[in-house]
Subunit: 592 residues, 2 copies
């Protein structure tokens, strides 16, 4: 029997044959280059069954391939089974990315290649990379078809349009007027008349608005056109949706952007890394200024009010986490059956009770034993594995609050652990502490610190395939740039006010996974004869279980850090916890 | 009274006025982009008095500036005093490099700027950077004048021409024929007819020849033109010089390169990072292929014969070092007066007695106390400071042997040390060990490991302004690329067979300097479920003095490494040392 994905791909190939397209690229993003698209744009999932958060498909007459990174290899192999779609690995040394694959493996030596893309879901810079991969001897014809899959995907979801609300200046620390003035200052410096923003988190930050168009991401699907005098916000409206009256902003229907662009906005600044190719093609190339949007960096450097909010969010989140961990231990000790799904629900309920809670910041990973070996495991709703009173349980979760965003992973020893589990647990903690304790010169980029977290794992020939740290937004995306802490060559220095995760891990297929994650705030650490210094403040407040720690693998400094952190968690949270939980936490945070 | 450098600069300005040049750039290199030029090309020194190994001058009608990096700030300020030349700092966050300075500070908004350069001493890529810095509205006219200073510099030294000799295949592990065949394979892959090499170490490596044209660098000043069939070597000859008969290579006079190039070598491969602008201008732009020369990477990956030679060189060098350190301690204990210069001479004499010794690999830094705070201190021949039986003495030195090159720094406690001296001594050792012990995934670049050496210093807000490690040649330059270990974004992975230094430091102006340097060889460390691994083998064999070590600042792992290293040094060297030195070394290497 033919698999449903085989059928869909076959129908796409019929369309390709009729249109004389050699290849179709289906990107995993939406018209706004979002990391997490709404259901309407889960085109990769619809066509291949792959549900990972990062993946692009290429279909040719005789090949269907999914390109995804190390995080999703195991998941992709399982989900692609029977679809005829082959996995192409990225973020590995031998990777062959889509442009190079098309040029050298699919169509080498061809005079002309027709490549169709859904222009709405393809960023401009991606198209440039595609053309560059082919030599001068090949004519690459890019066919941009907005909503290319519409004719095949009958029950395709609509573009979401949820209620939009303002976040007050007292909470976000800077008025919309000031933020717009900053952008206009940038336009003046660039000698531009206007800027077109399409990244949803940049728009939400700039306008001090939020919505719920995308799960876990409190943003509204929209474009924003800012010129020297005004701002026009193109946002979906429907019967149920409310859009607040914003004094300095004209609110217009989402679909009217092309009309306004046709009027000619003058010299227009756009960011080819977030603008989609369909809109780009509507613009006059001669009046375009392409560059990196400055809003991303402004947004990444949190102001004192945002920092205070993030501290508050982590206090509330920590209280929920400790109650969750206490409940979990009680339930298992009482012999109650607890599945991964039950645990996720319990934690979700504790977070939901926090005033200001607006949802989780991503889908909770609640994974026992071998499930935790998949860094982005999806906890099944039905027939979820039962937690056992032994080995390691990994829970990666976070909340969106009106006053901040959290992201925390705890790996919890549920009872006796193997020597390897304890070694992995301790070494990952050693790496986590190595980064958390770091002091470093002003101007240092995350990639220059990454070895502090990886070094202790490497020394014992262990490693992990994901980044050590990602930027985190303020009641916005739980992943944001431009900074990160990973093995790339990202030159963005870590600046005071930036928030990153610190989350090394070790994953052993079929056995267990360990990850320890806190959020850390970069802050100034003074100046001396050697220059200006930066350090991290750990924002997350939830103890690390010491029962699986092999103390002999930690240095004296690392043990001191661990004891001081657990003590700080206890002193901060205990007064606000139920007495029985506080007493339990006293035991859990005893110095080792 | 006018300083001699002021006079020289004034005469250059007269020439500039006559020629209507707005600026003259005098680079610190030679026609071959050598790091260490022969005296003929020490133009920066002649014009400004600055003797550092890296520095470029810019002269305009009203400004004279020297651009140099952190290593030379203190030295430059002292040497430029009274010359009217201002120091421009590089490798600091606020740096303004020459192209940007010319464009934005010297000549902003100008329609036309005439910049004169000594085309012979200016690499092509530097000129490209210069043009790029000015906007489209400025016409930059580059005037390339070979030997621009010739008319002013009356007793300018000639181009050196020393005897050239072959190094046998048994010593370097690969024949000239095979190396030339490798280059021809590269030419075929690039669809080129010929390659023009101008980097002296690449030529020496490729031809298996050495000479002594430049102090400490066993190379011959020459160009090499390799085509599909033959090779033409353009090298200086004079009455005293011998050039061996190389079966596959036509030896031609150095000055005949332009004539041969005029004949048209076909599609020609050149490296704009090493080719000079004068020669570049003689070439037909339409038949040039610019790229990174592959020879640099081939040369950096040592073959098994070279590695064995390097191990042998470090054994011999270690014997000399231990005898030197023993002599130093005896002399000071006996109350003999020993100056920095005396110590350098003693060490030089011990090295010179080693069979195969062909000179030092750079000028020995022999620096007591505050002198050592200058990372590139020059030990004065006259009135050198006396070593005192207290505090720290730093000695950075190395040898060139027919079978390898060494580079070692030891910081020696000569008696009681202050708490700060001991802390600095121990923390630098901690950083050194952090890198030496590293295990890391295949594909990792040096900049991704740098934090392993710097982290322990940063933690206590100490740092150093130079790289942690540079590549080292095989009986070639003591500095070579393409790999390094520093805070840049150099993507070159460390490959098995590459040799680097591991030399963190701390420098306190007016007090002391600490640097601990060994050479380390990158080698394979096997494969497991997490991938393929690399590690370092320490080549250098000379104990670290433990009397200034504060053991409590080291982790158990680090103490183990230190004790094992000292024990290995003792076991390897003692059987070949005089009995009294071996006995002394037994004490010095006792475990802590």
């Amino acid at each position: 029997m033919e698999n449903i994905y085989q059928t869909r791909i076959a129908r796409l190939r019929e369309m390709m044959a009729r249109s004389r397209w050699d290849a179709v690229i289906i990107g995993g993003s939406d018209p706004h280059s979002s990391e997490y698209p709404a259901d309407r744009w889960k085109q990769v999932r619809w066509l291949s069954g792959f549900t990972g958060e990062a993946g692009d498909l290429v279909i040719t007459a005789d090949h269907a391939g999914l390109w995804t990174d190390t995080r999703y290899f195991i998941q992709a192999l399982a989900q692609l089974d029977g679809t005829g779609v082959e996995l192409h690995k990225t973020r590995v040394p031998e990777q062959v990315l889509i442009p190079e694959w098309l040029a050298t493996q699919a169509f080498p030596g061809r005079n002309t290649v027709h490549i169709a893309v859904d222009g709405l879901c393809q960023q401009v810079s991606g198209i440039e990379g595609l053309r560059a991969a082919f030599g001068e001897d090949t004519e690459v014809r890019i066919v941009s078809v907005p909503d290319l899959l519409d004719d095949l995907w009958e029950d395709r979801p609509a573009i979401p349009a949820t209620a939009v609300y303002e976040v007050p200046e007292e909470v976000v620390g800077e008025s919309r007027e000031r933020k717009l003035a900053r952008l206009r200052g940038f336009l003046a410096a660039q000698a531009c008349d206007a800027a077109l923003l399409s990244a949803l988190d940049e728009i939400a930050w700039l306008l001090n608005v939020r919505a719920s168009d995308i799960a876990y991401n409190p943003m509204a699907i929209s474009y924003l056109l800012v010129d020297r005098e005004g701002a026009r916000w193109f946002v979906r409206k429907n019967a149920r949706q409310e859009v607040p009256d914003l004094p300095d902003v004209d609110v217009l229907p989402y679909d009217e952007l092309p009309v306004c662009l046709a009027e000619g906005p003058g010299r227009l600044f756009v960011d080819p890394d977030t603008l989609n190719y369909h809109i780009y093609n509507l613009l006059d190339p001669d009046s375009l200024i392409c560059g990196t949007s400055p809003v991303g960096l402004w947004k990444a450097v949190k102001n004192p009010v945002e920092i205070e909010g993030m501290r508050e969010a982590h206090l509330e989140d920590g209280l929920a986490m400790e109650q969750f961990l206490w409940w979990l231990e009680q339930a298992l000790e009482a012999g109650e059956p607890v599945t991964e799904w039950d645990a996720a629900c319990k934690l979700g309920a504790l977070r939901a009770a926090i005033p200001g809670y607006r949802g989780d910041s991503f889908e909770t990973i609640s994974a026992y034993g071998p499930g935790a070996a998949l860094p982005h495991y999806i906890t099944p709703r039905e027939n979820a594995p039962l937690l056992q009173p032994r080995g390691l349980y990994l829970c990666d979760s976070g909340g969106q609050y009106l006053f901040g965003t959290t992201d925390i992973t705890r790996t919890v020893p549920l009872g006796p652990c193997t020597q390897q589990e304890m070694e992995d647990y301790t070494l990952v903690l050693k790496g986590h502490i190595g980064l958390a304790m770091a002091v470093f010169p002003a101007g240092t980029a995350g990639c220059q610190l990454d070895a502090l977290a990886r070094g202790p794992l490497w020394r014992t020939k262990r490693s992990f395939g994901h980044g050590t740290g990602h930027g985190v937004g303020f009641f916005l995306g739980v992943h944001e740039g431009p900074q990160d802490i990973r093995q790339n060559f990202n030159r963005q220095p870590l600046l005071p006010g930036m928030i990153c995760s610190d989350e090394p891990g070790i994953y052993r297929e079929g056995l267990h996974g360990v990850r320890h994650e806190n959020l850390i705030l970069c802050r100034d650490a003074g100046e001396n004869e050697f220059g200006r210094w930066r350090e991290f403040e750990t924002l997350t407040l939830c103890h690390f279980d010491t029962s699986a720690v092999l103390k002999e693998l930690l240095s004296a400094d690392e043990v001191r850090w661990l004891n001081a952190y657990n003590e700080r968690v206890f002193r901060t949270l205990a007064p606000r916890l139920p007495a029985e939980v506080a007493l339990w936490l006293r035991d859990k945070t005893e110095a080792i």
